[in-house]
Symmetry: C2
Subunit: 696 residues, 2 copies
C-alpha cells in the first residue's frame, strides 16, 4: 500500500486547467502538498499549472507509482490499461458512474476489476475521494484546494477509512476548523472494488503516525478477516456502520436465520472484536479523539470524581454516568478533608464537588481552587478518572489548562472537560486543550459517553483460530452420515442426538415404537412426562398438535399415545422424556451470516422475551472468554444468577456450550442453522429441551 | 407575579460599590437594563453608582415593588421583615446558605417562610439567580454585568424556569454567543421556598413574549397541579428532570410501591401530560428551539424527505429516523420526475435525495438545485417534513436561506437543517437561519431527534377532573366496611371481589368450607382447576406452598385439599377457580407517588418481562384517551395485538380497567397499593387471576 500513501511520482489522469473541475483540484492539491514529480495527463494540453502535460500515462518518461484517475467512467478502462502497460503499481479511480449507478455501471466496474486481476495492478475506488494525509500534506483528492492552501488541515493522530466522500472532504474541514480534532490519514475507498478496509486497516495499524483508527462502512468486504484484524489491533478502533436500520431487528424477529446480515449481528461481531461502535459522524470523531487521548485500558472500575461550578450540571452528569455504567466515586476521607479546606465552613464535601462557593470565597486570594481540588481527587485511590466542568471567559473560574494537563499526565488518570463559555473564548480554550491532549466537550451527555468508552476499554483480544477437528472429542461419523442422508430440518430426536454428541446437554429422551414400550418407558422415566410425535421434516410440532405436556399417569400415557399416533396416521415415532423443571428459558442458536459466517446466538426465551427482544450474537469460533463476554452482553443477564429463587447458571458450563455450537457451525458447512429453543435452566444445569438443526 | 417581572421601583438590598461582589453586579445589571427607580440599600453607603443609598428598605421614600436581597443568610430574616413593613409585594432572595446547606439552614429558611405566610409577602428563592429577561433587559441577578453591557443577550421567545443558577447565567451566554437560540425570560427559582414552578408556569403560559417553556427541575413543588397546568397549556413545554438516576428502576423493581417517586413515574406523568422530556442541557434548548420554530402539531405521520449532498449522511439520517419513529418518505412519481430533471441521466431518484451529482452538473448554470428539489418535495403530499443537509463555505452548495425559509413558510411543513462548514461561515449561516426561524443542527442525530419531537407533538390535552363518586356505578358500602375492618393487605378473595365491583374482570372463583363443597365445586367449574389456601394477612401464597395449579381430577382435588388444609393448620379457607388459558400475562397496579398521588401502572408480566423491565405509569384520574396512551407507551405493546396466535386484547376494554383502577386510588385514600398480577390475556378478554389491595 506504500505506493498509495507515499508514491514516487504521480500521474493525474484527467488533469485540466479549468478551476471549476475536479481534475484541476486534484492537480492543484498534489502541487500544494506533494514533494515528488507530478505528471498531468490530458491529450488536450501540453502544459498545465506550469507542469508538462502528457497524452497518456505510458508517455511519461519517468517512473510513476500512483495514477489518480478522474475522467468520465467510460474512459476509465482504457486509462487503467494504459497504467498497467506503464507498470504503475497503484491507481486511484476517483470518477463516479460505476456499480453505484445501476447495471451498466456494474458491468463497467467488472471490466476494470478484470484488468486488475489480470495484471496485478491495485485499484483504489472507484467513486471515491482518494486520500487526505494532514501530516504529510498528501491530498490525492478533488477536495477544495483552498483548504490545503489556506492551511486548514490540522495534523493529528487519528486515521479514517471511509465509504463516504463527505468524511474525507467537507466534514474534515468542519471538525478541523472547529478544533474538534486533528487528523492523520483519511482513506476514502468508494466502491471498494479492489482496495478495501482489509488492505488499509493493517497499513494503518502499522503506521507510526496513527494512534486511533475510525471507520465509516456501509458494507464489509470480508467480515471475518476484518474482525480478526480488529481483534489483533493494539490501536483502538471505532466503527460507524451506515445502514443499520435497513433490516431492523423487528422484521427479522420471527426466525433466527432471517437475522442474517442485519445490524444486530454486525454490532455483536464488533463488540466481540473489541471495536467501539459509533452511531453518528461527529460522535465517531468524539470517540476517536477520546481514545486518542487515553488509548490504554483505564485502571479501576470507572469511579468518577466530578469537579463542577454548578450543582445542576453535577446532577445531570451523575445521571448520565449511572446510565453509562460509570459510578460517582466515593471520595476518601483524606480527599474530603483536603477539599474541605477550600470550602466555606457550612458546606459539606460531596461528589460531584461543587466548587462555586469555594471559588467565590477565594476570589482575589491567588488560590487556584480547581487546581487544588483536582490534585486531591487525582490522588484519591477511590477515583479512576476526573470529569471537570469549566467556563471559558469567566475570570473567576479561570482554569489553568497547563496545570490540569500536567496533573493528569502525572497521575495517569483520564481527565475530561465539559466546557461552556462565550464563543471566542471557548474556541481558544478548545484549541489550547487540543494541544495538551485533554478532551473537551460541549455537551455533558457526550462527555460522559466518551469517558465511559475510555474507561470500559479492553486490552486487545488474541485472534481465535479455527477449531481443529481432532481436538474436539466428538463423533463425526454420525453427522457425516446424516449429512449424506438428509436435507432441510433434522427432526428433534436426531437434532438433539447430534447436539448431545457435541457436548450440549439435552433431555434424556427415548424413542418408542409401540404402546408397551411406551408404558414401560414412562414408568422408568417417572412422571410428569412429555410425549411428542415425530415426523420427518415436520418441525412445527406444537401447531400440529404433536406435543403432550404434563402427562401425569399411565392412563394419560395411553391416551396420549393413541392421540399422537392418530394425528400422524401411524406414520411416525414417539419420543418421551421426563418434563424438565425450571421457569427460565433461554434460546441458543447458530446462524450463517453472509458477512461473518457462522454466528452463535444467545437470548432470553419465552414469548415475553421475544417481544422485548434480547438476543446477542458473536461470530464463531469463540474462545471460552469470548463466550463469557457474549453472555455478559445479554441485557437480561442477571436472570442467569438465580433471579427470584430460580436455579442459577454456571456461566463456565454455558460458555462451553456456546463454544461447541460455534464449532459445529465451522466444522459442518452444511449446517445452515441450529435452533435450540428452549434451553431450560434447571436444577442440574441447563438442558436443551427442543432443538432443530437445518442442513442445506 | 407581575411585580417580579415588571416592578415599579426596585430596592437592591446588599448593594455595594465593590465590583468583585454580587451585590454590585445586581445593582449594575438593574442600572443597565431597568428603566424605573432603583434604590440601593446598605447602611454603610450614602451613594453607590450615582444613586442614593438607603440604610433600609423602609427608609426608601417612594413605592417599591421588588426587593432583591443579597446579604449573608443570617441577615435575611431582618431584611424580609423590613420589606414587609414597607409593604413591598415581592422579594427575590439571591443569597445562599439556607436549606441547601444542612439543618441550621433549614431552620433559617423556615423562619423566613413564616414571615411570608404571616404577611403575604411573596418570596422568590432563596439560593437563586433571580430573573433574566432578554427581551425587556430586566436582569435581576448577580450574573456577570459585562454580558448585559456588551449586548450579549439575544432576545427570543423561549422562557425557562430553572432550579440551577447556571442555566440563568453562564449557560445563557454560551447558547446566545453560539447563536443556538435567543431567550425571553429565565427564572432561576433556587430553593423554591415560596414562589415555584406552579406560580411561574401560568405566568409564562400567558406571557405574550413566550412561545415555548423549558424547565430544569430537580423536584416538584406540587406534582398534580403542575401536571394539570402542563395539560392545559397551548404552548409546548420541555422538561429536564435532574436526578433521574438516584432511584433507578432496578432498585425499585421488586415491588411496585417502592417505585414511588422514581424517574419512571415522573417520566410517565410528563408523557401523559404532553410534556417533552429532555435529558441534557443543550439538548433541552435544542428541543425548545425546535418546538419554537414549529409549535403547532405537524400534519401527517412523520414522513421525511432528506435533501443531502452526501450519500453517507443520507444513510445515517435514515438510520436515526427509523429509530425515532419517523419514516423515509416514499416520494410520489411527480416529485421523482421533477427531481429527475436535475439529475444526471444515469442516476435514479431515491429518498434520501443525494443532490451532489446534480450540483456538479449545474455548476455555473445559475440553476439552484437545492431550491428546486426543495420545492418538489414540499409539494409532495407524501412528505410531511424536510431534512436538508448543507455546507457553509462551499460556493457550489450555496444554499439560499431566504428562499428556503420562504418555501417552508408557504408550505407549512417543517424544514430542519443539518449544517457542516468552516467555523466562521457556519456561524454566519446559523445566525442567519436563527433570524429566519429555521432550526439548524451540527449533529445528524440531534437534528432527527428534534424533528421527531416536532412531528410527534400532540395537541394539548383537556385537564381531567376528579371522578364523581355518584357517576361511578359501583358499590361503596362494601369497601367502606372493609376499610373499617382491615389494615394492611387484603386477602386475594376480598381484593378480587372489590376489584370486580369496580369493573375489573376477575376469575370466577369460589370459596369453599369443606371437602364436600370443594369436590362439588370442582366438578361444577370443570378441570383443570386452581386451588389456593387463604390466610388473612398472608400474601406470599406461592412461597408458603398454598397454591396448587393444574388440579386435573377429583383425586387431585382431594389430595390438594388435604395438603392445603394441613399447611394452614386448619386456619384458613380454600378458594377455587377454573385455570385460565392464556400465555400472555400483564401486571396492573396502583401506587401512591409522593409527588403525583395515585398512579396507575401497567406492564408485561412474567419473570422474563420483569428482567427486561417494561412498566409504564400515569397519574390518576385517567380519561379513556389517557389510558389508551398509557397502553401505547408500553415497549412491548404489540403483544396485545395477538402476537404469535395468542388472543388479542380489546384496548378499549383494557383502558376502562385502567381508568377504574385510577379512580379507586382517588376515591379511597386508604388504598395504598393495588397489585394485580397476573392479569391474563384470555380468549374472552383480560382477567385478573391474582390481586392484592393494600390498605394503610
Amino acid at each position: 500500500m506504500e505506493f498509495f500513501f507515499n508514491p514516487q511520482g504521480i500521474a493525474v489522469v484527467g488533469a485540466t486547467p479549468n478551476p471549476s473541475k475536479g481534475g484541476f483540484a486534484i492537480l492543484k492539491n498534489c502541487i500544494t502538498g506533494y514533494r515528488g514529480n507530478i505528471y498531468p495527463v490530458n491529450p488536450r494540453y501540453s502544459e498545465i499549472e506550469g507542469l508538462s502535460c502528457y497524452p497518456s500515462v505510458s508517455a511519461i518518461p519517468e517512473h510513476v507509482d500512483l495514477a489518480i484517475v478522474f475522467v468520465p467512467a467510460k474512459l476509465v478502462p482504457a486509462a487503467i490499461k494504459d497504467c498497467a502497460a506503464k507498470g504503475v503499481p497503484g491507481v486511484m479511480i476517483e470518477s463516479g458512474g460505476f456499480a453505484e449507478t445501476g447495471q451498466e455501471g456494474v458491468s463497467l466496474q467488472q471490466s476494470i476489476k478484470d484488468i486488475s486481476e489480470h495484471t496485478g495492478i491495485r485499484l483504489w475506488g472507484p467513486n471515491c475521494m482518494g486520500l487526505v494525509d494532514a501530516v504529510s500534506g498528501h491530498v490525492f483528492s478533488f477536495m477544495d484546494p483552498s483548504a490545503l492552501q489556506r492551511g486548514l488541515l490540522l495534523p493529528g493522530t487519528i486515521s479514517l477509512i471511509v465509504q463516504s466522500g463527505l468524511l474525507s472532504a467537507g466534514f474534515l474541514i468542519d471538525i478541523m476548523t472547529h478544533r474538534i480534532t486533528g487528523i492523520s490519514k483519511v482513506c476514502s475507498v468508494g466502491n471498494k472494488m479492489d482496495v478495501n478496509e482489509c488492505d488499509l486497516l493493517p497499513y494503518l495499524i502499522h503506521d507510526t503516525n496513527t494512534r486511533v483508527i475510525g471507520l465509516y462502512l456501509e458494507s464489509f468486504a470480508d467480515g471475518r478477516r476484518f474482525l480478526d484484524m480488529c481483534r489483533g489491533s493494539a490501536k483502538p478502533i471505532v466503527l460507524l456502520h451506515g445502514g443499520r436500520s435497513t433490516k431492523g431487528a423487528e422484521a427479522a424477529m420471527s426466525h433466527t436465520a432471517s437475522m442474517a446480515g442485519n445490524h444486530i449481528i454486525i454490532s455483536g461481531a464488533l463488540a466481540q472484536a473489541g471495536v467501539t461502535e459509533a452511531r453518528d459522524l461527529h460522535q465517531m470523531m468524539d470517540l476517536c479523539r477520546s481514545l486518542d487521548a487515553v488509548s490504554r485500558p483505564v485502571k479501576g472500575s470507572g469511579r468518577i470524581a466530578v469537579l463542577t461550578f454548578s450543582g445542576g450540571a453535577g446532577i445531570v452528569s451523575s445521571d448520565f454516568m449511572e446510565e453509562r455504567g460509570l459510578s460517582v466515586a466515593e471520595l476518601s476521607q483524606a480527599t474530603k478533608d483536603d477539599i474541605g479546606q477550600l470550602f466555606p465552613p457550612w458546606m459539606p464535601v460531596r461528589n460531584p464537588v461543587d466548587l462555586w462557593p469555594s471559588i467565590e470565597k477565594h476570589v482575589g486570594t491567588g488560590i487556584d481552587v480547581f487546581s487544588k481540588a483536582l490534585a486531591a481527587v487525582l490522588a484519591d485511590p477511590n477515583v479512576d478518572a476526573v470529569f471537570v466542568h469549566t467556563y471559558a471567559g469567566n475570570i473567576r473560574i479561570g482554569l489553568d489548562l497547563a496545570d490540569l494537563a500536567a496533573q493528569a499526565q502525572r497521575s495517569g488518570k483520564p481527565v475530561f472537560i465539559w466546557l461552556l463559555g462565550r464563543r471566542d473564548e471557548a474556541f481558544r480554550f478548545k484549541e489550547q486543550a487540543l494541544s495538551f491532549g485533554i478532551p473537551v466537550f460541549h455537551e455533558i451527555s457526550r462527555a460522559v459517553e466518551c469517558l465511559a468508552a475510555v474507561c470500559h476499554q479492553q486490552p486487545s483480544y488474541a485472534v481465535n483460530s479455527f477449531p481443529d477437528k481432532d481436538a474436539i472429542p466428538v463423533f463425526f461419523d454420525e453427522l457425516d452420515e446424516m449429512q449424506k442422508k438428509y436435507v432441510g430440518p433434522l427432526d428433534e430426536y436426531i437434532s438433539k442426538r447430534v447436539l448431545r454428541r457435541h457436548g450440549i446437554p439435552t433431555v434424556a429422551e427415548e424413542l418408542v415404537d409401540d404402546i408397551l414400550q411406551c408404558e414401560e418407558t414412562a414408568v422408568r422415566l417417572g412422571f410428569p412426562i412429555v410425549m411428542k410425535g415425530l415426523q420427518q421434516g415436520k418441525v412445527h410440532k406444537t401447531e400440529l398438535g404433536l406435543v403432550r405436556l404434563g402427562v401425569n399417569n399411565i392412563e394419560d400415557v395411553r391416551q396420549s399415545y393413541a392421540v399422537l399416533m392418530e394425528k400422524m396416521n401411524g406414520q411416525g415415532k414417539i419420543v418421551m422424556y421426563r418434563q424438565v423443571k425450571g421457569k427460565i428459558e433461554l434460546i441458543l442458536g447458530l446462524v450463517r451470516d453472509p458477512q461473518f459466517g457462522p454466528c452463535v446466538m444467545l437470548g432470553l426465551g419465552g414469548i415475553m422475551a421475544e417481544i422485548l427482544y434480547d438476543a446477542v450474537f458473536a461470530p464463531a469460533p469463540l474462545t471460552g472468554e469470548d463466550a463469557l463476554r457474549l453472555i455478559s452482553r445479554m441485557r437480561g443477564q442477571k436472570i442467569l444468577d438465580g433471579f427470584r429463587g430460580e436455579p442459577f447458571v454456571n456461566r463456565e458450563e454455558l460458555s462451553r456450550i456456546l463454544v461447541a455450537v460455534g464449532n459445529m457451525g465451522l466444522l459442518y458447512p452444511r449446517i445452515q442453522e441450529i435452533d435450540v429453543n428452549p434451553l431450560i435452566i434447571g436444577e442440574n444445569g441447563v438442558v436443551a429441551v427442543d432443538a432443530t438443526i437445518i442442513l442445506k
